[in-house]
């Protein structure tokens, strides 16, 4: 994907330390660099989620180390694990308690599709009741895959242009793939 150029310098203003940019770019940049995750750790994948937060993988490099267990303080829900029918309603309720804008990552085979648990108790993919932005395959996905999924989500946030439509269509090139439908990361 081509790099957007969100920042411009105006020589007339340089002395006064002013940077000119589009509102979109600034807000999306702020949003993407401080995504607070809501870790829905439901099963084994949660252990890899923990590992991503710990020293070796250090998700703090991408501004997402602030795991918030209160849905009202979080921006991105990472569903890590097997979602059973008993848990589905609660997951949905927590999702609804999160303030917009919000995003959802389905981490692992179980969250994406039910995985190896094709049984009477397991929802076959959380996309049955959540709008998933990024799917990560793997059972469990390696922490690197989670990080890649997260970086992809950041790109999607950057491309979302919440304010762009207020004026004219934006001329900056956008990867269409990021806006249309979910993204699949291979994580095994």
């Amino acid at each position: 994907m081509k790099q957007l150029t969100p920042v411009a310098f105006d020589t007339r203003m340089e002395q006064r330390d002013v940077i000119v940019t589009r509102l979109d770019a600034a807000i999306d940049w702020i949003r993407k660099s401080s995504c607070w995750p809501q870790p829905m750790g439901l099963a084994c994948c949660a252990i890899e989620l923990m590992a991503s937060g710990a020293a070796r993988f250090d998700i703090a490099r991408f501004g997402a180390e602030v795991m918030r267990f209160s849905p009202r303080q979080s921006d991105v829900m990472i569903v890590a694990g097997t979602c059973t029918y008993k848990m589905a309603g609660i997951t949905r309720r927590i999702w609804e308690q999160m303030p917009s804008p919000k995003w959802c990552i389905a981490m692992g085979a179980c969250a994406s599709s039910g995985g190896m648990y094709r049984s009477y108790a397991v929802v076959q993919g959380v996309d049955n009741f959540l709008p998933v932005d990024v799917y990560i395959s793997g059972c469990p996905p390696r922490p690197e895959a989670l990080l890649e999924g997260f970086i992809t989500l950041q790109k999607k946030i950057m491309a979302s242009k919440q304010f762009g439509n207020l004026w004219s269509p934006d001329p900056a090139p956008v990867d269409e793939r990021l806006l249309k439908g979910p993204i699949v990361i291979r994580g095994e």
């Binding site: 439901l42 084994c44 590992a51 710990a54 070796r56 848990m87 190896m116 648990y117 397991v122 469990p140």
Partner: protein
Amino acid sequence: MPDLRDMAWIDSAARAQAAADPSAERMVINMGPQHPSTHGVLRIVLELDGEEVINVWPDIGYLHRGDEKIAENMTYTQFIPYTDRLDYLAPLANNVAYALAVEKLLGVDVPRRCKYIRVICCELARISSHLLGIGCYAMDVGATTVFFYAMRQRELVHDLCETLSGARFTTAYTRIGGLMNDLPPEFLPLLQTFLKGLPATVAEIDGLLTRNRIFVDRTKNIGVLSAADAIDLGLTGPNLRASGVEFDLRKAHPYSAYEEFDFEVPVGTVGDCYDRYLVRMEEIRQSIRILHQAVERLPDGPWHVDDPKIFLPRKEKVLTKMEELIHQFMIVTEGLNAPPGEIYFSAENPKGELGFLIISRGGGVPHRLKIRGPSFVNLQALPKLCIGHMVSDMTAILGSLDFVMGECDR
């Protein structure tokens, strides 16, 4: 016992209490199923009098995935990956316990090298599980640093698992009658480096917690369980031993050559949260001892049973010999031909006694496979432990019990 599935129950219970208790001292609150201090999705309904817990109803089943039913629909070998996901903090130990159970049904005995490698697996799993258990426990009571130190070592265990089986923690390493492969040549040096570094981390954790005023104040004399109660409730593993009962399946009914190893079984004296922490720490040290012995005395020789009806023949032979090809075909399509019968086998897992009850009617598929998850039984102690304590002690008690919902709900 109220019907906990009825979410409206909390409201009606609260209303009933409000009528009975006009000064409104009592209240019913809901903890979980999504809550940072629960190790997995456990919902607990608490009845409080001010800050004091006067009633506890644990509500489980949020991670019920139907493992036992799934087992009835696949061959014994196909079920091995599912055992990884029972106690997902110690997959290697689950693999070993399951393989041993099926081998007991078949009546086969694996070679000594295989037994030793399995001991290495079990102890690695114990170390990694206790490290995470202690790390999360400390985080629950407010010491975040320990978690990072513990996770650093755990990553090395993951590296070892990766060399062993190719996966970071869903290993599926054992096979019925053997292992997935022999130890790779780079495994033992890696293990030795790991063993060299581990005591330093244990000492670090020890220094951070054992005499830490805050930690001690929050855990000492909290959640005391007497030996008699622990036995009555059926507790096993470190939680039982912390109450002063010296019972360890590795000593009581040695399996997989555990009788050849020299190690101690740590027991607690009081049975409180602090003792449960101490017992786990000591178990890590004992595991290091066992691992040293296993590496030193690792025997040579075959690492799987030499029976083509049970263990898959080597690929070279399958490609060149007709008979081997048929055996391979039979094992893969129909499963091993197990005799009819009913066996129970249990192994000392990091969390306690993990048991498998297999009822076979012959053939490659179990008629019924019942799993005795130690976490499920250990959780029974929750009401006994919590009642009478402050609500803030709940996190310490939950952390010290160190359960895993994957195995509890199955």
